[in-house]
């Protein structure tokens, strides 16, 4: 019964995207952790130059799905992924594709700020260095500056680029991690509850930043906070028990959800 509903809602979600060319396309995505079936038949289209929020109760599979998009799940040995995920029409689970290059195209920001215990400059410069993006020192300086500017951190740290990244405040650290992610010029940025470890002021800054970044990137954000999803996202997907229940424009999901479970979650009946 449940699966029936899920299928219906999914096909609805997919059809509602007709017209615009999606950036990320997932079809029948399943994830297994050993015996556990963590994600069941997820199909979704995610548009470019917008923010898509994944919401749902804990353990619903939203983070798992997010980590499928840059294949971070590969690092967990017992994890198995089936189905297809396409970015610009290219299957990222194609064995011929180099996962390292994929991750350069799909940046990621983690739940807890995790700057390298190195200088601010080195944090941002690391990605460009390993991908050969800079042609020289001045080019690299330029990339670092631009990335920090885009992350709204340049003014705060420009005089102390050689200080350790771990010495910054929590919000600054998270923006540094965003700068680090955008320094390699990704097309998609995945954010896994990027504000859950931050105070409200830092959260506001990061949300502001996400809003600015959406003009250049396809941003997918996992969040626990429905308010945050409502504030920053254009589209929202609701996950429940490993199933993508409903996906659509944020306003529709929050005001007029088509599924009872979405309704219950949004009105606070569970979660």
């Amino acid at each position: 019964m449940d699966t029936q509903v899920a299928f219906e809602s999914q096909s609805k979600a997919v059809s509602s995207m007709a017209g615009t060319k999606p950036k990320v396309v997932a079809r029948d995505c399943n994830v297994y952790y050993g015996e556990k079936h963590a994600l069941k038949n997820v199909s979704v289209d995610i548009p470019n130059h917008s923010v898509t929020a994944f919401i749902g109760p804990s353990g619903c599979g939203k983070s798992t799905f997010l980590r499928c998009i840059n294949r971070m799940n590969d690092t967990i040995s017992i994890c198995r992924v089936t189905g297809n995920i396409l970015i610009d029409g290219q299957n990222i689970y194609d064995p011929a594709l180099d996962v390292v290059q994929l991750r350069a195209r799909v940046g990621m920001v983690f739940q807890k700020p995790n700057p390298f215990p190195k200088s601010i400059y080195d944090n941002v410069a690391y990605g460009p260095k390993i991908h050969g993006l800079a042609r020289g020192k001045s080019d690299l300086d330029d990339i670092v500056e631009k990335s920090l500017e885009k992350a709204g951190l340049w003014k705060e740290v420009k005089d102390r680029l050689n200080d350790s990244g771990t010495g910054l405040s929590g919000g600054q650290q998270q923006r540094l991690c965003i700068a680090r992610a955008i320094a390699v010029g990704p097309e998609v940025i995945l954010m896994d509850e990027p504000c859950s470890a931050l105070d409200p002021i830092a959260t506001a800054k990061v949300e502001e930043l996400i809003d600015e970044l959406k003009s250049n990137f396809c941003i997918i954000i996992v969040t626990h906070s429905m308010q945050q999803a409502a504030r920053v996202s254009q589209r929202t997907a609701f996950f429940h028990l490993g199933i993508l229940v409903e996906e659509g424009p944020t306003s529709t999901i929050f005001t007029n959800p088509s599924d009872k479970r979405t309704q219950d979650y949004i009105t606070g009946r569970f979660g």
């Binding site: 180099d98 390292v100 290059q101 390993i130 991908h131 050969g132 993006l133 042609r135």
Partner: protein, 463 residues
């Protein structure tokens, strides 16, 4: 030859890196971002291509060259000499001495010829290996350079090399075990079953014989000296000293651990722990010196005071000091297991009004028992395998006794005594040491294995 080869190897590896990355730079034309791998990785890949075959050629080439050179050098001598492993190894030593110019005095003509053959072969073979290595290295460089392209996955390929290297490094530990097992097992097998070994005992005589006297007749004219390879005196000696050691270290170590884990203030812990660590770090040769020169006379003095007859190298002195050696061992392992007993168990006992010592005796120790037992087993295995203290303080007399005031000998002491100095590899005496090593290795292995398993199970129970 070895030095030259490694010089060449280093040179080729460096130039491989250099040419590989240079070529990649020129192919990329500055556009590194659209190239799959950074130029450094093309360089590293080429260097790895050079390193692998050159190491292989060396590892295979040198031993086979040595074998060939030795065989043809011995070809100058009659067949019966070649058949006798003792004589042929002695002759080989002479040949090598002569070839390296270390031999003085008059030399037999055939030895002269053999040495000439040997050094000729060695130098020609050395050049051959160098040549092979050079050509392999150059081929590898040209291959690596030619494979450079925008889409070539040099990083992935290089990382595959690194992965293999990591795996090889991890398997060294297994190779070590295989080396130990094969060397002690091989020699032990020969000790019992090789028909060419004279004076060897039967397995039964070895295991249950009560006399140990491995004097081998060194020359034929010394005649037959009666040898005996009865293992029992060594076993009882080892057990006696181990028992004394555990009797000392068991209570001291366990009570130290209990006090440190349950009673001590952080300050006391901060002082006592380093003291135990220092004691654990004292080399056993130092403890042996202390046992032989301070504790043994002390024990003897007290024994005489009470009218007892104490040997100057008594089992008691060695056992006491060995006990001191394993105190930190028992205390730190027991401390760990006591600390990992969940607080909830203690809380349960305290809530019933139990005193601390009652909680410890009736709740914590029973819960920690498996861990403590394995700590004791590891300590016993350490005591059985300890060499220097018993070598210096326990002596050589193979007495079948349980009197701690007498001199006894142990397995390790006998291994050391037999194998120190020049030994012929084909006498029963030398092989006996390996048989003892076999016993030692497997007894300690068994104790360790069981102890580690018990600890593991215990950890899982409370994790």
């Amino acid at each position: 030859m070895v030095a030259q080869y490694f010089l060449l190897l280093a040179l080729l590896v460096i130039s491989g890196y250099f040419f590989g990355s240079l070529r990649a730079r020129s192919v990329a034309g500055g556009n590194f971002a659209s190239m799959h791998s950074l130029p450094e990785y093309h360089g590293l890949y080429t260097a790895a291509l050079v390193l692998a075959p050159m190491l292989f050629i060396f590892a295979v080439g040198l031993p086979s060259l040595l074998k060939v050179a030795e065989a043809s050098a011995l070809g100058h001598f009659p067949a019966d000499l070649r058949a006798d492993p003792l004589k042929s190894s002695a002759t080989l030593r002479d040949i090598m001495n002569l070839a390296s110019g270390g031999h003085s005095g008059a030399v037999a003509p055939e030895l002269q010829d053999a040495a000439k053959t040997y050094s000729d072969l060695m130098s020609r073979g050395g050049w051959l290996i160098l040549g092979l290595g050079l050509s392999a290295g150059l081929c590898a460089i040209s291959w690596g350079v030619s494979s450079v392209s925008m889409s070539f996955r040099a990083r992935n390929n290089f990382e595959r090399f690194v992965n293999v290297a990591l795996l090889l490094a991890a398997s060294i530990a297994v190779l070590t075990t295989i080396g130990i097992v094969s060397s002690v097992m091989g020699e032990t097998y020969r000790f019992f079953f090789d028909p060419n070994i004279k004076g060897k005992p039967g397995v039964f005589d070895f295991l249950f014989g009560t006399e140990w006297n491995p004097q081998a007749a060194m020359r034929a004219d010394q005649g037959e000296i009666s040898t005996a390879y009865g293992f029992l005196p060594l076993l009882t000696g080892t057990l006696l000293i181990t028992c004394i050691a555990i009797a000392v270290a068991g209570p001291l170590g366990l009570f130290s651990a209990i006090y440190l884990a349950e009673y001590a203030s952080p300050k006391v812990r901060a002082t006592a722990k380093p003291i135990l660590e220092i004691l654990a770090g004292v080399p056993t040769v130092v403890l042996g010196f202390f046992a032989a020169l301070t504790v043994a006379p002390f024990v003897r003095g007290w024994g005489e005071y009470f009218g007892l007859n104490v040997a100057s190298e008594s089992a008691l002195a060695a056992g006491l000091v060995m006990g001191m050696m394993i105190i930190p061992f028992i205390s730190s392992l027991s401390d760990d297991v006591i600390n990992s007993v969940p607080q909830s168990l203690r809380d349960g006992a305290y809530a019933l009004g139990a005193t601390k010592s009652e909680t410890i005796k009736q709740v914590i120790l029973p819960a920690a028992l498996p861990g403590i037992v394995s700590a004791f087993m590891l300590a016993i295995s350490r005591a059985i395998g300890e060499t220097m203290i018993v070598v210096m303080a326990a002596g050589l007399a193979s007495n079948l006794t349980f009197n701690p005031l007498e001199a006894v000998t142990t397995i390790t002491v006998q291994i050391k005594t037999i194998l120190v100095g020049d030994q012929e590899f084909d006498s029963a005496k030398t092989l006996a040491a390996f048989a003892l090593g076999f016993v030692l290795f497997f007894v300690t292995l068994l104790l360790n294995f069981i102890a580690l398993r018990v600890v593991q199970k215990y950890r899982e129970q409370y994790d």
